[in-house]
Symmetry: C2
Subunit: 368 residues, 2 copies
C-alpha cells in the first residue's frame, strides 16, 4: 500500500510516529489536518511530503465555497503558502505545491471575472489529477532510480544508510532504500547497516521495519558507530537520500549525513545520494542557501516520551545538514547516475525530466 | 563528594544509571555487588572504575576468612580476575587491581607457610591504603591534568566533548571536563557542545548534569550533529577522555570518538585527549590490540527502557572505538601535554609518573 493516498475524499497516511509498534492509518480531511501531519512528521521523507502536500492542495481547495475563478486562485495561493511553511528544507514540498498551482493557473487565470462553475469544478478536478499523477510518477521514478543505482552496488555488499529512505519516505519503494531493493532484486547479496538516526530514530523505527518486512538482513547501529564499522573495512559504501540538492551538487539531508560523507572520504569508500530530480533545486546555487529547519529542543531532551536530560537543559536541533558536493561520489536520480561537475550533470538531469524547469530561471517556479 | 569512596566498611558509589533525575548512592558490601555495579555501569568512566576496582579488592579480600598468607594471595588473585573481567577495554581497572596485587604480594609472598595473623591483617590494611591513595592521587592528578590542558584552550572557546569525563567518570573533577573546569577557573570563557553519546547517553544524562551544577554554559546535541557545528566553524576544538591509550598513541574511547577525530582533521581544528598516565598501556603496541567490549543489543534497541526498534531487530554494540594516533593533536596527562611521536612522549610520561612502569616490559604488570 502507498504511504500517502486519496481515499473516499480523505488523504490517508501511514502514521510514521506510531511505527514500528503500531501500524495505523490517519485520515486528513482538512488543510489544517494535513499541515499538522507534515509538521509533526506523521508523514515524512521529502518525496512523501511532496505527495502529501499535493493532496493538501486538494483539501485546501475545499476551504473556498464559491465559484469565482480569481478568488479561488487567490485562495489556493494562500493554501500553498501554508503548506510550504510546514517544513522548509525539503524542496519536494514546494515543488509539488507549485506544480498544482501552475496547473490550476492555466485553467483559472484566463477566465473572465464572475461566476464560472465549470471552470472552478475543472480546476478542482485538476488538483486531484496532478496529485495522483505525481504519486504515480514517484513510484515509477523510484523504480527507475533503483535500477540505475543497483548497478553501483557490488555483488556482495555491506551498505550503510541513514534515516529512512524507503516506501515510507516516498509514495512507495524508496530512493536509497529503493536502490538496495533493486540490487537485491537483481540477485545481489546486500547486508545493511542501519544508522538509528537520532533524534527522530527513523532508522531504528522505520528502516528496520521495512527491511524486516522485506527479509533483507540488517544490523542496527547508533549514529556514532558508523565510523567504527567504516574504519574497519566493514562497509563497502554509504547511500542516503536527500531533502534538497543545490545546483552545484551540495546536498541537504537528515542531520548526520555530512559526517558519513566525511567518513567515506577519509576511508576511501563511495558516498552516494539517491533522490528524484524533483529534489534538485536549480534556483539554489549552493548548500549555503538552503534553509535548515530548526526543530523542537524537546526532540533532543526526550526519547520516546521519556526525558533523558536534566530539566532546564539547552539543546540545539538542526534537522538537516549540508554535505558539500566534493564529498558526493554520485547522485542517482530516475534519469541516471550523475557525477561531478554537478552544475552540468544536474541541469541536464532536470532538463531531461522536465524541459521547462531545466531550461528557464526557476525563481518563480520552485522558490519556497 | 567523591564518585567512589569507602565509608563505614562499604564502597559507596553515586548511581550513575539513576542520574540526572535521582541522585542516589549505592553501597556495595561484597565482590559480587561491586563487580555488578561496574558491569551495569552504575559506576563508569575509566578512572572511576579503576578506583571502584581497587575498593573491590578490599571487598573481595573479605571472602577469605583464614590467616594463611599464601592461600590469601591466591584468593586475591582470583578476586583480581573477576574484577578485570567486568569491563575489558578500560585499562585503569586492570592497572588499579594490579597495583593492589603488587602491594600485597610484597607483604604476603615472602611469608613462610602457615598461620600469620599479623601478616594477613597487614595485607588487608594495605589494600585499603592502596585504594585510598589511588583515589587521592586521581583527584590530585586530575587537577594537574586540568591545569596543563587549560593552557590549550583559547580565551573564548566553543569546546565539543563526548561521553562523560567529569567528576562522575573519575574520583572527582574529571579529565577532559577537568580541563574545561580549569580553563574556566583560569578566567576563560568556555561554552560546551555536549554530544548526547548514544547509546548510554552519558552526555545527555551526566555531562549536562555536571555542567548545570557548575553553571557552565552548554548546548546538548545528538552525536550526528557534531559534524554540522564543526563544519560551520562553531567549534574551536574537541576534547575527550580515553579508556586505554596504546604505546603508539592510538586511543580507545567511547564509541563515536573516532568520528569526531576525523571531523576535526577534515575541518582543521585540534582533537585533544585527556587522561591520566594510568590510562596509557605500554604493553599494547597499537590500538588494534585493544580489546573492544561488546555490550548488550538491548542498549541499542531500547532507550530509557522503551523499545524503539521492531521486535527481532539485530543490533551491534561495540562500546568503544579506536582513534589512530595520527588524528590526535595532543594527549594531556598529569605529567603534561604530549605530542607525536607518541612512542617517545608517552613512554617518558609513564616513566615520570612511575619509573618502574615506564622502564620495564609490562606484560606481567598491566596485561588485563
Amino acid at each position: 500500500m502507498r504511504t500517502v493516498d486519496l481515499q473516499t475524499g480523505a488523504v490517508q497516511l501511514i502514521d510514521q510516529t506510531a511505527l514500528p509498534d503500531v501500524f495505523q492509518l490517519v485520515e486528513c480531511r482538512s488543510l489544517d489536518e494535513i499541515a499538522d501531519a507534515i509538521r509533526t512528521m506523521k508523514v515524512r521523507g521529502a518525496p512523501a511530503i511532496g505527495a502529501a502536500a499535493a493532496f493538501g492542495m486538494v483539501l485546501g481547495a475545499r476551504g473556498y465555497l464559491g465559484n469565482e475563478p480569481h478568488p479561488f486562485l487567490e485562495h489556493l495561493e494562500e493554501v500553498a503558502e501554508v503548506l510550504k511553511a510546514t517544513r522548509p528544507t525539503a524542496v519536494n514540498l514546494a515543488w509539488a505545491v507549485n506544480r498544482s498551482l501552475t496547473a490550476v493557473r492555466e485553467i483559472l487565470a484566463p477566465a473572465p471575472e464572475g461566476e464560472h462553475i465549470d471552470i472552478v469544478r475543472q480546476a478542482r478536478a485538476m488538483l486531484v489529477t496532478v496529485a495522483r499523477d505525481l504519486c504515480d510518477a514517484d513510484v515509477a521514478d523510484n523504480h527507475k532510480l533503483g535500477a540505475h543505482g543497483a548497478a553501483l552496488i557490488p555483488e556482495q555488499a555491506n551498505v550503510l544508510t541513514h534515516c529512512n529512505t524507503g516506501s515510507l519516505a516516498t509514495v512507495e519503494y524508496g530512493t536509497a532504500l529503493g536502490v538496495i531493493r533493486s540490487a537485491i532484486g537483481a540477485g545481489k547479496r546486500v547486508h545493511v547497516y542501519v544508522d538509528e538516526t537520532r533524534p527522530f530514530l527513523q532508522g531504528a523505527r522505520l528502516t528496520t521495519w521495512e527491511l524486516q518486512e522485506d527479509g533483507i538482513p540488517f544490523t542496527l547501529i547508533t549514529d556514532g558507530m558508523a565510523g567504527h564499522f567504516i574504519s574497519r573495512g566493514e562497509v563497502d559504501l554509504v547511500i542516503v537520500g536527500a531533502d534538497r540538492i543545490a545546483a552545484n551538487g551540495d546536498v541537504a539531508n537528515k542531520i548526520g549525513t555530512y559526517t558519513l560523507a566525511v567518513l567515506c572520504k577519509e576511508n576511501g569508500i563511495p558516498f552516494y545520494v539517491a533522490a528524484p530530480t524533483s529534489t534538485i533545486d536549480l534556483t539554489v546555487a549552493t548548500g549555503a542557501d538552503i534553509p535548515i529547519e530548526q526543530r523542537s529542543q524537546r526532540e533532543i531532551t526526550h526519547v520516546a516520551g521519556v526525558r533523558v536530560a536534566p530539566i532546564g537543559t539547552q539543546a540545539a536541533h538542526p534537522a538537516f545538514d549540508v554535505t558539500a558536493a566534493r564529498y558526493v561520489t554520485a547522485i542517482i536520480t530516475e534519469q541516471g547516475v550523475h557525477r561531478a561537475p554537478y552544475d552540468a550533470s544536474l541541469r541536464a538531469a532536470v532538463a531531461a525530466a522536465d524541459p521547462l524547469r531545466g531550461a528557464v530561471p526557476e525563481a518563480e517556479r520552485v522558490r519556497s
